[in-house]
């Protein structure tokens, strides 16, 4: 699978997770209609988090305990669509020389989706291409329009402090990231100006001028998700409204009328010059905002307390993953369906396995007989129960590479109990740090091949295309791809 395809899959999975959270947020937002808008605003944080971060922490309070999602889930990303969907088999070179094979095989691409006959994979490749083109287009457009705006604002003239005035804007705008400046149109009435400045200064104080571009970047990554466009719009509105409320809290109720008429007068001037540029601060949603301002009351203490509790709980619930319920990974007893599949696998392995790496622990004495019987379905239960079975192997610390980000790696798979080692090629994209064996199996294993004495035979997955590999195949470790010489 290509790097791009993997990236796209990660994004799609995050998008689906974020969509579930977004629906939850929109529902909770309805309940908080009467509460100060700062609460609705804060609620968007988990959505943003889910959009940009594939990892999260586990908690029993997770929102995902409520919705039963049909997804494979590790301690980091929810996975709704497996990256190996429809990949048939990894190409492999078989020269019956173990060490050569492994070196040669890792140099091969891992099941190129475009070469695969499977339409799913081809679609995937096309879609990821469309996705990345969309991202590039939107990104270029935003950067160009940001640079253009900057250019226009360059000649704005100083009023005081960080406030500049210019005839290039029709409404007040905050621009800049590190040292944000406020730009106001010319000839604003003094009363309007004081309200506008208070509003924009509040934005800057609350770092909204950083939050909005960040949210917009996330939106660009997830541009194919219409729900996220809705979220962005709702989030912007909540941001503006809670900013309005914060200004009113400071200025007092008497400012209500003046403040909303200032809003209106700037809305009238607006010509849409910056409307398309989400990086600048436009005044939008004026009607709803004025309504909100006129309705604004300082909330009662208990109301605040309830809202704070509810929002904290919601944020945690939306951000956390549910704790893993799966059994110990790799345990033979778990492998019910896997065994059946294993039975379908070609007649099995012989002790004359290919070149065994020197660091492998010698197979137990019983290994030969187990290896031979493993292929026959009748003996499964005995195998599973056999006391002589070795415990699931620990990840070999000398092979394990922590904090590797991408590249091609060789996965060493130990086959229990008969064949000590197998080699699997793999392309990894996501960080493989601290993954459990189960996660390696479900996410990163494309194919395992077994040497049956004469030829290499692909071992089928336990549950069709999306399933895992039978858990008799213990995972031993992972190391960087050797240079093929």
């Amino acid at each position: 699978m290509s790097l791009l395809g993997d990236l796209f899959m990660t994004i799609v999975n995050m998008s689906i997770t974020a969509s579930c959270v977004a629906v939850g947020v929109i529902l909770v937002r309805l309940l908080l209609k009467k509460a100060p808008k700062i609460f609705s605003y804060v609620l968007w944080a988990p959505v943003l988090f889910r959009l940009v971060c594939p990892f999260s922490f586990d908690s029993a309070f997770s929102f995902f305990n409520l919705v039963s999602l049909d997804a494979k889930q590790g301690s980091e990303a929810y996975e709704f669509v497996s990256p190996d969907t429809g990949v048939i088999q990894t190409p492999a070179i078989r020269a019956d020389i173990g060490s050569f094979d492994s070196a040669a095989n890792v140099s091969l691409p891992a099941a190129d989706p475009t070469a695969s006959a499977d339409p799913v994979q081809i679609w995937l490749a096309v879609l990821s291409l469309v996705w990345i083109l969309g991202v590039i287009t939107l990104l270029t457009y935003s950067i160009v329009s940001y640079v253009k705006t900057r250019g226009k604002l360059r000649t704005a003239t100083l009023v005081e402090g960080n406030v500049f005035e210019t005839d290039a804007v029709e409404t007040a705008v905050v621009c800049g990231f590190i040292r944000p400046k406020i730009y106001v149109p010319l000839n604003i009435r003094d009363t309007d100006l004081s309200y506008i400045l208070e509003h924009e200064r509040t934005h800057i104080r609350r770092k909204d001028h950083l939050v909005k571009p960040l949210a917009y970047l996330a939106l660009i990554l997830h541009w194919f998700n219409p729900l996220m466009w809705l979220c962005f719009s709702l989030m912007s509105r909540d941001m503006e409204m809670s900013c309005d409320e914060s200004v009113l809290r400071k200025l007092g109720d008497s400012a209500k009328n003046g403040y909303s008429s200032s809003l209106l007068s700037l809305a009238v001037r607006r010509k849409g010059l910056l409307a398309a540029n989400p990086l600048a601060f436009g005044e939008n949603h004026v009607k709803t905002r004025i309504k909100n301002i006129l309705d604004f009351k300082k909330p009662a203490f208990w109301g605040i307390a309830v809202a704070v509790t509810a929002v904290c709980a919601a944020v945690i619930a939306f951000t956390a993953n549910p704790p893993e319920k799966e059994a110990i990974p790799g345990s033979i007893q778990d492998a019910g369906p896997a065994d059946a599949e294993q039975a379908a696998a070609p007649p099995s392995t012989t002790p004359s396995a290919p070149a065994t790496p020197s660091d492998v622990t010698p197979a137990p004495a019983t290994s030969t007989s187990h290896g031979q019987t493993a292929a026959t379905s009748t003996d499964h239960d005995q195998i599973a129960a056999a006391p002589s079975d070795p415990a699931p192997p620990e990840l070999d610390p000398t092979l394990y590479m922590p904090s590797v980000n991408e590249g091609q790696y060789e996965l060493l798979v130990e086959v229990r109990p008969s064949i000590p080692m197998h080699k699997v090629t793999n392309t990894l994209l996501i960080s493989i740090t601290n993954l459990s064996e189960e996660e390696y199996r479900s996410k990163f294993l494309y194919s395992i091949e077994q040497f049956d004495g004469e030829k290499w035979v692909a071992i089928p997955r336990s549950d069709g295309m999306l399933g895992q590999f039978p858990s008799e195949y213990g995972l031993r470790g992972i190391r960087p791809k050797p240079h093929n010489t």
Partner: protein, 119 residues
């Protein structure tokens, strides 16, 4: 006439030059940084643009204005007259003076200006 059309920032910039000309360009950068909050590069960009339009002149790092303040003001006031009052001076005066009392001195001055214009 379009030559005299100045944006707000340009007008403020040229005003500084009218007040100080002839002025050394380094000195100009200093004043612009202080009064307009401009960076050196912004000052030079605008200077170059206005020189290109024949409004300013920068010779041996000395900046002078090629147009008079009165010319620009005349252009601006006519533009307002055309745009907002259909080019009618009485309409403009009516709107300008509505709800506002002239002082004796202002009235005398206006009368004098009108008489001079009629001659």
């Amino acid at each position: 006439m379009e030559k005299y059309k100045l944006f707000d920032a340009e007008y403020k910039f040229v005003s500084i030059i009218w007040d100080n000309e002839p002025i050394n360009s380094t000195e100009l950068v200093k004043i612009c940084a202080e009064k307009l909050g401009w960076k050196k590069s912004t000052t030079y960009t605008v200077l170059k643009k206005l020189c290109g339009r024949g409004i300013l002149q920068n010779r041996d790092a000395t900046v002078t204005a090629l147009v008079k303040r009165e010319d620009v003001q005349r252009y601006e006031s006519r533009a307002v007259l055309e745009k907002t009052f259909d080019g009618s001076l009485p309409k403009f005066l009516t709107a300008f003076l509505s709800g506002r009392k002239l002082s004796e001195q202002e009235a005398e001055e206006l009368k004098r200006i009108i008489e001079e214009a009629v001659k």
